[in-house]
């Protein structure tokens, strides 16, 4: 029995999801209230930046994680008050749960005190990172 109905449904739903997904990747989502746990240099494995810290969670089965890492590492070179920290999600599952990280790459933007002010899922664009950092006074 041939029917095209399931195929058409799948293609329409997947296309809608794909467009939404591509648009929202890398987008900085600011938290309404900054009240999460305080992250320290000991937790993220790097000294915190005097203004902001970007903490990226990565995993092995993730191609865009590498691109994100390269971009953020490159960007902090010219920003003395911003630091970058990289965390392997798989070996830090407690932290992943505490911070409610759902996918990789996820980049948390911390203020000077080490509290998350917002995050970006997927590889952000350079301008999106600048905008996110500008939101941290």
């Amino acid at each position: 029995m041939k029917t095209f109905v399931p195929l058409v449904i799948v293609l329409i739903v997947a296309t809608g999801f794909g467009i939404w997904f591509q648009r929202t990747r890398g987008e900085f989502r600011k938290k309404k209230t900054v009240n999460g746990p305080t992250l320290t240099a000991a937790i993220v494995g790097t000294e915190l930046g005097s203004r902001a810290t970007m903490v990226q969670f990565s995993s092995a089965f993730c191609t865009p994680c590498r691109a994100t890492k390269a971009l953020l590492q490159d960007m902090v070179k010219t920003m003395p008050d911003v630091r970058y920290a990289h965390i392997d999600a798989e070996s830090h599952l407690e932290l992943v749960r505490e911070l409610n990280v759902l996918s990789t790459p996820t980049t948390l933007f911390l203020n000077a005190a080490g509290v998350e002010v917002g995050r970006a899922m997927g590889t952000p664009k350079r301008a999106q990172v600048h905008a996110a950092l500008a939101a941290i006074s």
Binding site: T3, P6, L93
Partner: protein, 139 residues
């Protein structure tokens, strides 16, 4: 050491997979989904660069491409092949046992993943792996 492969390969393979799974969904033919399950199994166990689709890419498509070669870790597409294998096996079993509804849903999910990979460069491992780990180790 992790193996790196031409990043364009898995995406072309996903495009072929999309066509095969779409045909399986329309015809409800168990042999098509069984064939795709074998392709997924090769991709999941040996690596996505060894599937018949990857061989088509290497011999026919790659020599005609002019875009610069970028390399990627073999593990993300290999993970996606394993997920595809799971759906394909469910579909084969459903077809054999006469569970038509289950067949349609399983093939639909596999098709959606392959289509998203081909059309939007969707990375299944990025979205699913951490959730699976979290679920597996949940107390």
């Amino acid at each position: 050491m992790t193996v790196s492969i031409d990043a364009r390969g898995p995406r072309w393979s996903a495009a072929i997979t999309t066509v095969v799974l779409a045909t399986a969904l329309v015809t409800s033919n168990v042999w098509i989904i069984a064939f795709q399950a074998i392709v997924f199994a090769i991709g999941a166990l040996r690596g996505p660069q060894f599937t018949p689709y990857a061989l088509i890419f290497k011999s026919l498509i790659k020599p005609r491409l002019k875009s610069p070669v970028t390399f990627e870790d073999v593990r993300p597409p290999q993970f996606a092949q394993a997920v595809g294998l799971g759906f394909a096996l469910v579909a084969v079993i459903a077809s054999v046992t006469g569970a038509g509804g289950v067949f349609t849903v399983a093939v639909a999910f596999a098709l959606a993943a392959a289509f998203l990979n081909a059309a939007f460069n969707f990375c299944l491992g990025c979205q699913m792996y951490l959730l699976i780990l979290r679920a597996r180790t949940a107390k």
